[in-house]
């Protein structure tokens, strides 16, 4: 996919389509957007995403942008972050927001649910140690509330603490007073969010274009 290409290359798209599950049409549209964001280059950098005006008033903007550059989301068992990403990696990150098809079995839906929750988990677990510690969780809540007024860190701290307590109560049940709850592991995370039905909520319609309906 060189920058000089002006026509979508069916062959390469087929590869991507198999990997991510998007249709050719969707890949084409996303490719156009990728080119627009990266100013017709092959790779996308953080600054390119930083300049998107719609993101400027989003409280968790940093985390969203980081998620695009997080190797853990590239499904290649990598770790750490990169400075720039190719279209393929962009597409893989986007594929986390595809809705499940109607004819999926329960196991397939479970897999998709895990995948999406893994994405969220990675967003919270910034130091990549497999658990969301209290500090990280506090950071999450602070960011969430950062745009919403001057209530300060104490409120966020209180909320994060209560949330952590809830997770610990649900996951661990009983703990001795001197035991220490390290942090939210991925399994605990799954447990507390199992009622949210994430596979139906974490979707973007745009990526669900298996009909002729195209919302622009």
């Amino acid at each position: 996919m060189g920058a000089l290409q002006s026509l979508p290359d069916e062959f390469e798209y087929r590869d991507l389509s198999e990997k991510t599950g998007f249709s050719f049409e969707q890949i084409g549209i996303l490719h156009k957007r990728f080119k627009q964001l990266s100013h017709n280059e092959d790779t996308l950098r953080r600054d390119d995403l930083n300049t998107i005006p719609d993101l400027s008033c989003n409280p968790i903007r940093t985390q969203i942008i980081e998620a695009f550059f997080d190797k853990r989301n590239f499904h290649q068992n990598g770790e750490g972050t990169v400075q720039e990403i190719s279209f393929e990696e962009f597409l893989v990150v986007m594929s986390h927001f595809r809705p499940p098809a109607l004819d999926m079995t329960e196991e397939q839906r479970e897999i998709i649910r895990r995948e999406k929750l893994r994405f969220l988990f990675n967003m919270h677990d910034t130091d990549n140690d497999g658990t969301i510690t209290l500090e990280e969780y506090r950071h999450v809540v602070e960011e969430l509330l950062s745009r919403s007024g001057a209530l300060g860190k104490e409120t966020a701290k209180g909320i994060a603490d209560a949330a952590m307590l809830e997770v610990a109560s649900i996951s661990m049940g009983h703990m001795e007073p001197d035991e220490f709850y390290e942090g939210i592991t991925f399994e605990h995370f799954l447990k507390i969010l199992k009622d949210i039905e994430i596979e139906t909520r974490m979707n973007i319609r745009f990526l669900n274009m298996d009909t002729t309906n195209l919302c622009k």
């Binding site: 969430l144 007024g149 703990m175 745009f206």
Partner: protein, 749 residues
């Protein structure tokens, strides 16, 4: 008569006696209304006394005419409520038969009884129905409408409401007309327009019936909101079609222009209704901004503005139901941010109460009207109507779902479709509309009979069987889940995430517009409609506070810290720091401090005078606070570890120091002051790395109770103070926020 024929325990028998007395009570006054020698009013009686020969002064006299109307109304309502009471005393019955069926049966009985006495049973007067009985139910539904599922499914709901109703009308009207053309039926005089008019009346799903039945089966949120939303929104279609066909039937012919005007009329009616509702909603929200000094009348504003919205739109023949719904939906977030907690509770209870009474009365009157009304029975017509109702509903739902599923992310399964189709009940609105038909239509009686039959069929057969069917088909039920702070955090997180990713995609989708609306709402609208600084508060915090308040209340009521799962986990497990354990001696000291402080406070509370403008009840608060004290102490023991140590640069006043210290006496009400452990006012923090969880005391300059100052404590000997602060907060009135008590019982206003 299933309700009374079996053997029953003594209390039920007593109730029956009461009920019979009530029946007789209704019968007697009606008989006694024959003109008696008593005249209307005391002046009249003096006159007759003067002109006639002098009688003995009537020591005891009966003047029924004077009180007749209110008396009968009250009696009816009492009857309805006693019936409702009675049903719930028979557990087996209320589990099998939905309440609406039982009430209709009671109505039939009462109607029969009245007829036996020889009087004319009252018919469900359409004006009474539309102006008095229907609005409370709709307002209750609209005010407490679950917004998120409604807006997520609004497209589907609109399709069902508009296109589904249109389909039903034309399908039924057309086929019935075809039926009438058949010679053997003997209904040759019915023309197409009359049939279409009939179709429009009987095809609309009724919100009252749906509410009554669905409330008892606890189906999952999606199906519930689909059927319920459809029943609310199809009012516009029904109004337009009804008026349209009435006009056409008068004239007799239809032109293309008329059809076009009909379509325009539909948009005017629905959008006009929405507009009227929105205007009144904003007016109500704006008014509630200024009610901080007269809290007692706050609920009245909500009710009256909504009722005015309904009446105004009915005046213009717009859709009153939609106006009412929109009014409730629009005003709710702002009003709730402004009114006190007591007003909120009042509104909730009054709405539930009125809608409950209305519903009961409607069903009873349906039964009575069945006995009373003129009937014209035609087997073929009526049976065909019932069958066609079912068939057209099923076909409509299947067909529309097929189309809708192409546009939905969460598709409707076959089970969902079945419940949506089966739950399309008809009710009193259809009957009232039929009753409104002028006598000009020679088929009026036939139509009425058919309508009543359809209603009975849907309410009895479908209403009774839907619950076992739901069980049989294992349809997903409503999830009874506790509000979880994690879910709330992640819901909000997801919203922002999806908005962000939509931004990255360059796609202006669902989340983008929702975010824009939220921002507009926050920057402009809330500023105008919410009093004080409350409009800055984000949802997450409001949710968190609500949860804490609920926990506190539950703790008071149930006597222990509520937790779905018994766990011994406390903050110490999360955040281990060197937490000094409290010795027994210290605990006793703290208890003593708390008790003595509470005594002082109680004395002060009793000396306040009772004023009409506050609902503060000193004695009640005392009891509650006593209980709270006990529970708080228990909770305190559990939460000891919440209080963390404080950096040394804080001042730590002695236990003996009891001065009121307020950070900012003139601070505006801000997002704070709720009985939690975890909050802090947004005043400049005294230490940048404050780790302690502390509380702030709201501004109560005249509160002379011994409250410790907000700063500088987290060591153990001030835990009592902290808890006492929390207690004081429970006792005092924090101010205008959605979980607040009433204002200023302590302040001399």
């Amino acid at each position: 008569m299933p309700a009374f024929s079996c053997a029953f325990p003594g209390c039920r028998r007593d109730l029956l006696v009461i009920v019979l007395v009530v029946f007789v009570g209704i019968g007697l006054p009606i008989e006694a209304s024959a003109p008696a020698y008593q005249s209307h009013g005391t002046e009249g009686s003096y006159l007759t006394n003067v002109t006639n020969t002098k009688k003995a002064f009537p020591v005891l006299a009966v003047n029924y005419k004077h009180v007749r109307q209110p008396f009968e109304i009250a009696l009816w309502i009492l009857l309805a409520l006693l019936m409702k009471l009675g049903f719930h005393l028979i557990p087996r019955l209320s589990g099998v038969v939905p309440e609406s069926c039982l009430l209709i049966v009671v109505g039939l009985l009462v109607g029969g009884l009245i007829k036996v006495i020889g009087e004319e049973p009252p018919v469900l007067d359409s004006q009474l129905f539309f102006l008095c009985l229907l609005p409370p139910i709709i307002l209750d539904a609209g005010y407490f409408l679950p917004i998120r599922p409604f807006t997520e499914n609004v497209g589907t709901i609109l399709v069902f409401a508009v296109i589904g109703t249109l389909w039903n009308t034309f399908f039924m009207g057309g086929l019935l007309y075809a039926l009438c053309q058949i010679e053997s039926v003997g209904l040759g005089g019915v023309d197409l327009l009359a049939c279409l008019l009939f179709g429009s009346i009987v095809s609309a799903v009724d919100p009252v019936a749906v509410l009554a039945v669905f409330e008892e089966i606890h189906i999952n949120e999606l199906v519930h909101i689909l059927v319920f939303g459809e029943s609310l929104l199809n009012d516009a279609v029904t109004v337009v079609l009804y008026n349209l066909f009435e006009e056409f039937a008068k004239v007799g012919t239809v032109t293309v222009l008329d059809v076009f005007l009909g379509v325009v009329c539909f948009f005017v009616v629905s959008l006009g209704g929405v507009l009227v509702g929105a205007i009144y909603g904003f007016l109500a929200a704006f008014t509630s901004r200024f009610t901080s000094h007269t809290r007692v009348i706050e609920p009245l504003f909500v009710f009256l503005y909504s009722y005015m919205a309904y009446l105004s739109s009915e005046m213009f023949h717009l859709s009153g139901i939609m106006a009412l719904i929109v009014c409730g939906v629009v005003m709710r977030p702002y009003v709730e941010a402004n009114i006190s907690h007591k007003s909120y509770t009042t509104i909730k209870y009054f709405l539930k109460m009125w809608s409950s009474v209305s519903e009961t009365l409607i069903f009873i009157f349906l039964g009575v009207s069945t006995v009373a009304g003129p009937h014209a029975w035609n087997w073929t017509f009526v049976i065909t109507t019932v069958i066609l109702c079912l068939v057209s509903r099923v076909l409509g739902v299947i067909g529309l779902t097929f189309i809708i599923n192409k546009f939905r992310i969460v598709k409707l399964t076959k089970k969902d479709q079945f419940i949506v189709a089966y739950g399309g009940l008809r009710g009193a609105i259809a009957f009232s509309l039929g009753y409104l038909l002028s006598n000009r239509h020679q088929m009026r009686n036939l139509f009425l009979t058919a309508i009543i039959t359809v209603i009975f069929f849907t309410v009895f057969v479908q209403g009774m069987t839907i619950r076992p069917l739901v069980e049989l088909l294992a349809v997903k039920k409503k999830k009874e889940s506790k509000p979880s702070i994690n879910e709330e955090i992640h819901t909000e997180f997801l919203n922002h995430l999806l908005t962000g990713v939509e931004g990255v995609c360059g796609h202006y989708g669902h989340y983008h517009w929702k975010e824009k609306l939220n921002r507009f709402n926050k920057t402009y609208v809330k500023r105008w409609l919410i009093a004080g600084e409350n409009f800055k508060e984000p949802e997450l915090i409001a949710f968190y506070r609500k949860m804490e308040l609920k926990q506190a209340i539950m703790m008071v009521e149930s006597g222990q810290l509520p937790s779905a799962l018994p766990s011994t986990i406390s903050m110490q497990n999360i955040q281990p720091r060197a937490i000094p354990r409290v010795s027994k001696k210290r605990e006793e000291e703290i208890r003593r401090i708390l008790r003595s402080n509470l005594q002082n406070n109680k004395q002060k509370m009793r000396s306040r005078s009772y004023s009409r403008h506050t609902l503060f009840d000193a004695d009640e608060e005392d009891n509650v606070s006593e209980v709270r004290l006990r529970k708080t102490k228990m909770e305190m023991e559990r939460r000891m570890s919440h209080y963390l140590t404080v950096p040394a640069n804080r001042e730590s006043p002695r236990p003996g120091v009891r001065r009121v210290r307020f950070e900012s006496d003139n601070q505006v009400f801000s997002a704070d002051s709720v009985p939690t452990v975890h909050f802090e006012q947004p005043s400049p923090p005294s230490t940048p790395d404050a780790v302690s969880l502390e509380e702030e005391v709201p501004k109560r300059p005249s509160l002379e109770a011994d409250i410790e100052g907000p700063r500088g404590n987290a060591s153990d000997n001030h835990q009592g103070e902290l808890d006492y602060q929390r207690l004081a907060r429970c006792l005092s009135d924090p101010g205008p926020n959605k979980d607040k008590e009433e204002d200023d019982p302590f302040m001399s206003c």
